[in-house]
């Protein structure tokens, strides 16, 4: 579990996963949709890992300020599956709450700035339509969140790079003290300040065009998906109304059938079908909610994309500043050497005011500057290298992300069509039955 604190001078390195008693060097998770991305490290035993968030439980406890609070805890189960016989063995099981997931993600964002880090499901229910409660304790919301958290873990586990992270591994396996372990990495200190990032965004002169385009794309994606989700919620609300009002027919028909001798039976059974129709909307809309969640994931992915762009801008800005600084130092040095003063310097000013400096003083200054210039050139070189490495790695992950996104969204749209088809078939059946009853009246 020990690790040397990352060298602050170097580009941040993720905490390497150290073998902990098992020869395999990483988590080869073959779950969900991302099987092909998973780096399956073969150990002596050919095992796969399965992760699931299988339960959610309401708990009460005391928070940091010793006040009682209610929260939901989620059970994470990890299984290893023998390749040969397909048997799965439960290897780890622990409870985590949402804030711990958040901590994990924050950590990953700091240590893998070139990766599009999978987003968490929403903290609070948004895009609600009237039936869905906006309450975090609502069982439907909790259930959807459970699925979202599982999806989050599966995304990480199937990412070729993220799956190897030790903190992630410990998240799944080390119940107590995990928070302390994460904090000990000191990742919070290494996080770029928001202000710094904002500054860079405005002042950077030559960012890579691909990242600029990507930023625009992510803004568009976020805007269009939010719009779509909002309208979808309104459509769902209206559809709910249409179906439910028909239920009133059921009641009236059944009351009326009591007095109508001839039409009685027909009315009664027609009324029953109206009730069936009215209640069918609940399942239909629940299914649609899952579709909405799939879209929401990509809504939140937009922010992850922007995070990568911001990092690039920051690095690029840093590079530009360093180059500028170097250039100005070189200029200063040249002026000192040649004796011409083109740039303003405090020393130059004071020299004018208080008299020339001695040749020795001047030599000393030149020497210092030359050293700084040398250092600066080294730094610039390494920053340049880091910058290019970052762009290369980031772009590789972005390409991977794009393929994933296209696949997933297409699948989601198709599943939407499937849902509509199922809804139409139910509608046809119920109204055909009702029509038969009406015609028998």
């Amino acid at each position: 579990m020990e690790q040397a604190p990352p060298d602050p001078e170097r580009q941040l390195q993720p905490a390497p996963l150290e073998p902990l008693g098992s020869p395999d060097a990483g988590l080869g998770a073959a779950v969900g949709k991302e099987a092909e991305g998973a780096g399956e490290e073969s150990s002596g035993v050919d095992t796969k890992i399965e992760i699931s968030v299988s339960e959610a439980e309401k708990r009460t406890g005391r928070n940091a300020m010793n006040m009682q609070e209610t929260y939901t805890a989620y059970l994470i189960e990890t299984r290893s599956v023998e390749h040969t016989d397909g048997q799965s063995v439960l290897t780890d099981s622990l409870w985590r709450r949402y804030s711990e997931f958040e901590l994990l993600r924050s950590y990953l964002l700091v240590y893998y700035p070139h990766i599009v880090v999978p987003p968490l499901p929403e903290k609070r229910a948004e895009f609600v339509w009237h039936k869905l409660s906006a309450d975090n304790m609502d069982p439907d919301f909790v259930e959807r969140r459970r699925i979202g958290l599982e999806n989050f873990l599966l995304r990480i586990a199937s990412h070729p790079i993220l799956c190897r992270d030790k903190i992630f591994y410990l998240f799944l396996t080390q119940e107590g003290n995990w928070k302390e372990t994460v904090n000990e990495t000191g990742f919070q200190l290494k996080a770029d300040s928001r202000l710094k990032a904002l500054n860079a965004t405005f002042r950077v002169k030559n960012p890579d065009k691909r990242f600029t385009d990507l930023k625009h794309y992510s803004d568009e994606l976020q805007s269009v998906i939010s719009h779509l989700l909002r309208v979808r919620a309104r459509v769902a609300d209206r559809l709910y109304g249409v179906y439910k009002v028909h239920g009133n027919y059921g009641r009236v028909f059944s009351e009326w059938s009591a007095i109508e001798k001839e039409m009685g039976d027909g009315l009664q059974s027609a009324g029953h079908h109206m009730d069936v129709y009215a209640s069918s909307i609940d399942d239909i809309l629940e299914d649609e909610e899952h579709y909405a969640d799939q879209l929401k994931e990509y809504l939140f992915y937009a922010e992850a994309l922007r995070a990568v762009c911001r990092k690039h801008e920051l690095m690029q800005y840093d590079l530009e500043m360093a180059a500028q600084d170097l250039a100005s130092k070189k200029q200063q040095c040249e002026e000192l050497v040649t004796g011409t003063v083109r740039t303003f310097s405090l020393k130059g000013m004071t020299t004018k005011l208080f008299g020339q400096e001695t040749p020795e003083q001047r030599e000393a200054r030149i020497k210092v500057l030359e050293e700084q210039i040398n250092e600066g050139e080294q730094q610039l070189k390494s920053k340049n290298l880091e910058g290019r490495e970052f762009v290369k790695n980031a772009w590789a992950d972005i390409e991977r992300f794009k393929e994933q996104k296209n696949r997933d969204l297409k699948e989601a749209l198709i599943s939407y069509a499937v849902m509509q088809i199922s809804m139409c078939k139910k509608g046809i059946q119920v109204w055909t039955n009702a029509k038969e009853c009406f015609s028998k009246m």
């Binding site: 779509l228 009236v252 088809i421 078939k425 009246m441």
Partner: protein, 422 residues
């Protein structure tokens, strides 16, 4: 033709053509209460709302007998399907066809009002011509109804659409309001035309055929013989009321009307609400499709899929619009008419009329009530069957749309898969 029409009933008592039947004591027979025969239930050709269907009936009897109008070749407008549900033992004997259309606004210095064009086509001898076209305003309809009530105090006279604006409308001559009223007026006249007794009412004939000035001068005349007869009947009826005991039958009927009124009002509210919800659903759906088009602008790999989804949503949107219009054509007017009927039947004088119907041994009076009930059951049944049909059609259309989307996606996928293969 008229003789044929009466063939199924008791032999005519030889009264003048205007009221040749024992069912309408106020209309023709000088002796109220005597029918001279047992009145058979007059099977009625069902009222048709659509103008086109009226003309269809006029020109082609065969279409009415077709029981299998589900074939795609047949015009399956929901209301043409009414035609298949008929009393099979009665051939089509309708000889008076009325349409109400072309509302027009008239502005004078004193007022603004709407007139409706009324076209009558008939083969009846007592009409001077076979086709008439006149213009009438709502006031004229009110007059007609009044005259009919006077002349036939014991019969159920069809209701007129509301005199005043239903709350929620801004101006009196709102398009929807006018259209709804036009349909209801059309219904009103056709109900009268289909009524075995009322159809021969003299004022009705004048209403349908007289020119504007003729009608005004006719209106100014005092109550005629028929209405004086009606007054007599009313007087007799009300004098008899006090000594009536309450037979079970009456209680049953009273009960029925009360409950019916309750239920039909509820159904009316529910149906209006459904229309409103469907409209709001439609409004939201209109916005839903275009968002996918917008999205496709930034997704190169998903352009086709997104555009296809957008077009599916738009097609479903159109289908829902059609469903809504079906509802407003078929179900809503029918239910609302019966709401008006029930309001009328609940009135004390109407209840008195009904008491008379029950109390009097006059089966003819009872027949009018039975006829009304039968019509009601048929109309309600049809209206709901229509609504069900509209919904089935709606879902079938949406199903086809999405299924073809799915097929095209699967095909694309197979294409891509085979392209990937070396």
């Amino acid at each position: 033709m008229e003789g044929e029409r009466r063939a199924s009933q008791a032999p005519s008592s030889g009264l003048p053509a205007g009221g040749a039947n024992g069912e309408s004591p106020g209309g023709g027979a000088p002796f109220p209460g005597s029918s001279g025969s047992s009145a058979l239930l007059q099977a009625e050709v069902l009222d048709l709302d659509e103008d086109e269907d009226d003309l269809e009936v006029f020109s082609k009897d065969a279409s009415l007998m077709d029981m299998n109008s589900f074939s795609p070749m047949m015009p399956t407008s929901p209301l043409s399907m009414i035609n298949q549900i008929k009393f099979e033992d009665e051939p089509d004997l309708k000889d008076l066809f009325i349409t109400v259309d072309e509302p027009e606004s008239h502005v004078t210095t004193i007022e603004t009002f709407i007139t409706y064009r009324i076209i009558t086509k008939t083969s009846r001898g007592e009409f001077d011509s076979s086709e008439f076209e006149v213009r009438r305003r709502y006031q004229d309809f009110l007059w007609l109804k009044g005259k009919l009530e006077e002349a036939h105090p014991t019969l159920i006279i069809p209701p007129l659409p509301e005199k005043f604006i239903v709350k929620g409308m801004v101006e009196r001559f709102n398009d929807d309001f006018i259209e709804t009223r036009r349909k209801a007026l059309h219904k009103f006249l056709n109900r009268i035309a289909d009524h075995p007794t009322l159809t021969f009412n003299e004022d009705f004939k004048i209403f349908l055929t007289a020119q504007a000035w003729e009608l005004s001068s006719h209106k100014k005349q005092g109550p005629g013989l028929l209405s004086r007869m009606g007054q007599t009947v009313r007087a007799v009826a009300s004098s008899m009321r006090g000594v009536k005991n309450r037979p079970e039958e009456f209680m049953e009927m009273n009960n029925f009307i009360e409950l019916f009124s309750q239920k039909i009002n509820l159904i009316d509210k529910i149906s209006q609400r459904i229309y409103k919800e469907e409209r709001e659903y439609f409004d939201e759906m209109k916005e839903y499709g275009p968002i996918h088009i917008l999205w496709s602008a930034s997704e190169e790999d998903l352009v086709d899929t997104l555009k296809d989804v957008a077009s599916c949503i738009d097609r479903c949107c159109k289908a829902t619009e059609k469903r809504m219009s079906g509802l407003s054509e078929a179900l809503l007017p029918v239910v609302h008419e019966y709401v008006l009927y029930s309001e009328m039947l609940m009135l004390p004088e109407e209840i008195g009329k009904l008491e008379d119907k029950v109390e009097c041994a006059n089966n003819a009076l009872k027949a009018d009530w039975e006829r009304w009930k039968q019509n009601m059951q048929n109309d309600i049944k049809l209206a709901f069957t229509d609504m069900a049909e509209e919904n089935i059609h709606y879902y079938e259309q949406c199903l086809a749309t999405w299924e073809s989307f799915l097929t095209s996606q699967t095909n694309l996928h197979l294409e891509e898969a085979s392209e990937d293969k070396p």
